[in-house]
């Protein structure tokens, strides 16, 4: 307690003093972020030096780049001794890098197929697109096949009729129980494909040709080939992987053992050995005289390979689900398949999105390995471009183009998966 009059009472607040010089503005920002301790300072300096060195050594090469020339020699004449990239090779050969030896008059077909593929993907990837467009997504595989390989439109159409036959058989026999109905549907569809579809196709083709010029698999190459193999492998490996993952968690010992053996075998050997098996040995496992398309064989092997990895990823998602989910589904009276479809899989797949997309990206990158069995993927084409007299000894420009395209596609996939994870996030952590 203070009695009487105090000598002095400050009526107003003192103005805030300026922070010390090192504690404000840019200086503080720099100190806290870049030079907090000696290690941080060292790293900052080292990374700045590294970035400067890279920029310094690459910038003249990039800024002097020549975009208009017919050959590497012409490039060098234009550069006249200066250091510079020769991106003219991309301008000269981009069509080959994208389509391989696909007939140039038919380039519109793969381009259209690619555009339609994006349209078919839209309703799958984005929920804002109306659901009825999913119908087009189911039609696209046949349409895309027809556009790229050519031939008669009736071939994919009769294949789809086989699916319809199977569907009708399933509807008719549904009374007999799910397993039997599915088996009968499979058998009737198979009968249609093996027995009826061939004659029907020929008959219809005579009636109304509807054919495009046929393009053989040998003529395909470049990113067209990578995307065909990658997209087919990706879209087949997900459903097959789900089945295999369920097989591995099955309570039937035989089914579980078979799944484990398959998965561990495929994951234990390099993809190259499987591809060599496809190109050298697959024919000797089939009835004598069978010979089918090399691209198809490669797609089968790549799909099997991706399926095994996918199964492990999905198994991880299944294992992360609490047992209570299975029990709750059973308590509701759902049978096995209904429980999987309505309760288990939607959650398990959501958990495994990062892994699934990682294995998609891995599969797409692995399509480059087909160069080893003589298919003309972008890397094989870069080798053959380098072997021509015009472009002998050109490396970096081709690598940058191929790597850049792969980067765009793979990076796009990983960004989409992050978006999907955020969209599906329902927990409140």
């Amino acid at each position: 307690m203070i009695d009487g009059n105090p000598a002095f009472v400050r009526g107003e607040l003192l103005p805030a003093r300026e922070p010390p010089a090192g504690e404000k503005g840019l200086l503080k920002l720099c100190r806290e972020n870049f030079f907090r301790d000696w290690l941080s300072a060292l790293l900052t300096v080292a990374s700045l030096i590294a970035v400067l060195l890279i920029v310094h050594s690459l910038s003249p090469w990039l800024f002097n780049a020549v975009w208009n020339a017919r050959s590497l020699n012409e490039c060098r004449e234009i550069l006249n001794g200066a250091e510079g990239a020769c991106f003219a090779v991309i301008r000269d050969r981009w069509a080959q890098l994208l389509f391989g030896f696909y007939p140039p008059t038919q380039y519109w077909r793969p381009v259209l197929a690619f555009g339609l593929m994006l349209a078919a993907l839209a309703p799958i990837l984005f929920p804002s697109v109306p659901r009825r467009f999913l119908l087009f997504s189911t039609v696209f595989p046949g349409l895309g096949y027809w556009l790229i390989w050519g031939g008669s439109l009736w071939l994919p159409l009769t294949a789809y009729i086989g699916l319809a036959v199977g569907g009708i058989a399933m509807r008719l026999t549904a009374r007999l129980g799910g397993g039997i109905a599915a088996g009968l549907a499979f058998i009737s569809a198979l009968t249609w494909w093996l027995v009826a579809s061939g004659p029907v196709t020929t008959a219809l083709a005579q009636l109304l040709p509807l054919a495009l010029a046929t393009v053989t698999s040998r003529e395909m190459g470049g990113f067209l080939l990578s995307i065909v193999i990658g997209v087919t492998g990706i879209s087949l490996s997900l459903p097959l992987g789900i089945v295999l993952a369920l097989g591995r968690r099955s309570t039937m010992p035989l089914v579980m053992m078979l799944s484990v053996v398959f998965i561990e075998f495929i994951r234990g050997v390099p993809l190259i050995t499987l591809l060599f098996t496809a190109s050298l040995l697959l024919n000797s496992f089939l009835p004598p005289g069978t010979n089918f398309d090399l691209i198809l064989r490669v797609i089968i092997m790549v799909t099997l390979f991706a399926t095994a990895y996918m199964a492990e990823v999905i198994r991880g998602g299944l294992a992360a689900l609490p047992q209570g989910q299975h029990e709750a589904a059973e308590a509701l009276g759902l049978d096995y398949w209904k429980a999987q479809r309505l309760v288990i899989m939607p959650q398990a797949l959501k958990i495994s999105i990062p892994g699934i997309v990682n294995s998609f990206i891995g599969l797409f990158k692995d399509t480059t390995l087909v160069v080893f069995i003589g298919l003309l993927d972008p890397i094989a084409l870069s080798n053959s471009i380098r072997a021509t007299t015009d472009w002998q000894g050109i490396y970096w420009e081709l690598f940058i183009f191929i790597g850049g395209l792969f980067f765009l596609l793979c990076f796009g996939m990983s960004r989409y998966s992050m978006h999907l994870e955020r969209r599906l996030k329902t927990d409140h952590r």
């Binding site: 790293l43 900052t44 129980g177 397993g179 039937m252 690598f399």
Partner: protein
């Protein structure tokens, strides 16, 4: 309709009907398994029958006798004695050793690069973190094969030829006068012994006795060092005071080794430019360098992501507790975070090691003579034994993979968190 409740007075009489095989959950799984088994056996029989008929059509038999016939081709990188007169089997072993060497080297570097990049990516320094993000995204999204070709092209195109090292105005120089990076390979000093004890005959390989002795001494030293530490642990737990061990460790780990090296007359053989190429020293071929760099930097990006995920999995409270104890950022990482994060990091790390081992088979792209290029390449082409060769290769890769994943299971069993689930 009213429900009528009947109390069973006796067990309902149940006869076995055929439809119960499908409708009764007690029998259904048996039915399915029998069906699967039949399909499987039919399928295998069909495949084997086709194979036999195809082999008969080609006039081939199924035998591995080609492994004992003369190979007749050269392998430019060999860890054990090999020349063109030796057998295909021997060539396969040389290739397998090359595969293993490449895998071990790449695993080691990929771990170092990956752990560094993963830790730095979490750094509070934005420049460093961004740079590491660029590294990771760049390498993860571009195919490994392309990176291997890029490093192969760097080694063959962007590096000076041996002739650039010659003369008074040489445009290139050796690093510390010991290492020469040329477009014919990297030359490094080789360890040499003045006094050799001879070689040990193991049948397949003849390792130098000097090396064998050195390895044994190193092993003995490591065990002795561990004994010293165990003793210190015991004393500490009994008395609370830890005896000083660092000088004992230093002596045990270095003295016997140095003594032995001195006794053997250890010295380094430096590479020298003689004629058109470097002579002496150890030559690491371009193919090995390109594969090594490609595999380790590419896989390093994946390991970096695993390390980052492992560190982020440790709750922030651990960091805060360590800071509260007064530990700095580096010590927090080393003593508190990393030991816990390791439990999360190691399983995916080992699956990356598996990937490296399998990806060594891309050596074909730059002409590295690994198992796939020797047994799976030239031998198959020369003998026409695709079936046997591919089978053998798959079996070998499969056993390598199983060994690695077996070691992972051992690790998981030993380091499982007690009581807690991360």
């Amino acid at each position: 309709m009213a429900h009528v409740i009947t109390l069973p007075t006796a067990e309902p009489h149940q006869t076995f009907r055929l439809s119960m095989l499908l409708n009764d959950s007690r029998y259904r799984s048996c039915t399915i398994q029998v069906f699967v088994l039949m399909c499987l056996m039919l399928g295998i029989a069909w495949l084997v029958d086709n194979t036999i008929r195809n082999l008969a059509l080609l006039g081939k038999d199924f035998s591995f006798s080609f492994l004992w016939s003369t190979a007749g081709y050269d392998i430019n990188q060999r860890l054990i004695e090999y020349d063109t007169q030796m057998t295909h089997g021997r060539a396969a072993i040389v290739g397998l050793l090359n595969t293993v060497v490449l895998a071990v080297l790449s695993c080691a570097w990929a771990t170092i690069i990956g752990v560094t990049a993963g830790v730095l990516r979490l750094s509070s320094n934005p420049i460093v973190a961004r740079l590491m993000t660029v590294y990771v995204e760049l390498f993860r999204n571009i195919p490994l094969l392309l990176w291997i070709l890029v490093f192969g092209a760097i080694m063959s195109e962007a590096v000076p030829a041996p002739s650039a090292f010659r003369g008074d105005n040489a445009t290139a120089s050796m690093i510390f006068g010991a290492v020469a990076i040329t477009n014919r390979g990297v030359f490094i000093p080789e360890p040499l012994f003045a006094r050799n004890l001879g070689t040990l005959d193991l049948g397949i390989a003849q390792p130098s006795l000097n090396i064998v002795f050195l390895l044994m001494v190193v092993l003995a030293c490591v065990f002795a060092n561990r004994a010293v530490h165990n003793h210190a642990d015991r004393v500490q737990s009994q008395t609370g005071i830890r005896p000083v061990t660092w000088w004992k460790s230093a002596i045990i780990l270095t003295a016997p080794l140095l003594l032995l090296l001195w006794a053997f007359g250890f010295h380094l053989g430096y590479p020298e430019l003689r004629g058109f190429n470097f002579q002496g020293g150890l030559q690491l071929r371009n193919a090995l360098i390109a594969m090594w760099l490609g595999l380790s930097i590419y896989t390093g990006a994946f390991i970096a992501e695993n390390v980052r995920a492992g560190i982020l999995a440790i709750s922030k409270g651990q960091t805060e507790a360590a800071h509260a104890l007064g530990l700095g950022p580096a010590k927090t990482m080393r003593l508190v975070i990393l030991p816990q994060a390791l439990r999360v990091i190691v399983p995916p790390l080992i699956s990356q090691y598996l990937n490296i081992t399998k990806n060594t088979s891309l050596g074909l792209a730059v002409g590295y003579m690994d198992l796939r290029s020797t047994l799976g390449g030239i031998t198959i082409n020369q003998t026409g034994r695709e079936l046997e060769g591919m089978l053998l290769i798959m079996l070998i890769y499969l056993s390598l993979s199983l060994i690695i994943s077996g070691s992972m299971n051992v690790y998981n069993a030993r380091h499982r968190a007690e009581g807690a689930l991360i």
